[in-house]
């Protein structure tokens, strides 16, 4: 297994647009640290391409961006790219899935294969400003949700264990809840509530001491 990153970057709706834009921070860090990286972008995020890349490259860290369910992770236009059927391709890897619910059943299943899976047992929620859809990175409300989630792969790329990385991410969610409550705006409670929902949903399945 080599120190490397495979990341999926579908971009066909607002959610995947935001996930892909915010992933630039993860990609930039990997490049700065000269960690080999394979980006699967837009309509290339298909089951066939994902399987090809996972078979060809021995990179240890896999980041999935997209939609999901309790048993599946999707790619371009919601094509299912990972399910129980091909989860053996993720053997001995560290997986972070920024997709709804995948940690619930799929994550538990995958973690049995000597893997470590970080994801969400319930929905991943975020607020976004429609006026910022054209430039997600300029959306401060979305940043409250996506920056803590970025911290998971970022912390792993920096050499921390999976357990430490998830903990750092969760601490950042709590800091953001504090920040938004201190703003004391009408909308603060609702945003804090959505952040707290992500805090509760984020889960690690497998060996917490695994590192890149």
């Amino acid at each position: 297994m080599t120190k490397g990153l495979i990341i999926t970057l579908p971009r066909f709706d607002v959610v995947t647009e935001y996930f892909s834009e915010f992933s630039k921070e993860i990609i930039d860090l990997a490049k700065n640290k000269s960690i080999p990286i394979k980006e699967l972008k837009e309509d290339k995020v298909t089951k066939n391409n994902t399987e090809k890349v996972l078979k060809k490259l021995n990179h240890k860290l896999i980041v999935f961006n997209g939609h999901g369910s309790k048993t599946e992770i999707a790619g371009h236009k919601n094509e299912i790219i990972i399910s129980k059927e091909n989860s053996n391709l993720l053997k001995n890897k560290i997986i972070y899935s920024r997709a709804c619910e995948a940690a619930h059943t799929l994550g538990e299943e995958i973690s049995k294969n000597n893997n470590c899976f970080i994801g969400y047992k319930d929905s991943f929620n975020f607020y976004a400003d429609p006026d910022k859809y054209h430039n997600p990175l300029s959306d401060p409300r979305a940043k409250l949700f996506l920056s803590p989630s970025n911290l998971i792969p970022i912390s792993i790329l920096k050499g921390n264990t999976v357990g430490e990385s998830s903990k750092k991410s969760k601490r950042q969610i709590l800091k953001n809840i504090k920040k938004i409550l201190r703003e004391n705006k009408n909308e603060s409670i609702e945003i804090a509530q959505a952040l707290f929902s992500n805090y509760n949903a984020q889960a690690v399945c497998g060996n917490l001491n695994e590192r890149l």
């Binding site: 607002v14 929905s123 509760n200």
Partner: protein, 77 residues
Amino acid sequence: MKQENNENMRDLIIARIESTGPSNLKLFVGGGEGMSREDMIFHVQKGDSIGKKIVNNQINFLKAVSSGKLVELLNTV
């Protein structure tokens, strides 16, 4: 009695969304389009899967606030 409690809870959640739901933002819960405050209220009233998620998230948050769990967590950072 249980149905009455559920209806009261639903009305409470709707009142909360009406008063504190961000008017200029969209909420993304899983896939699909972002929801405005009005969309959220529609789903809660309809009682569909999205509406149930919204209600559960609100109840979990209220429980964490009332039990002191949220304050306890926020004091750790």
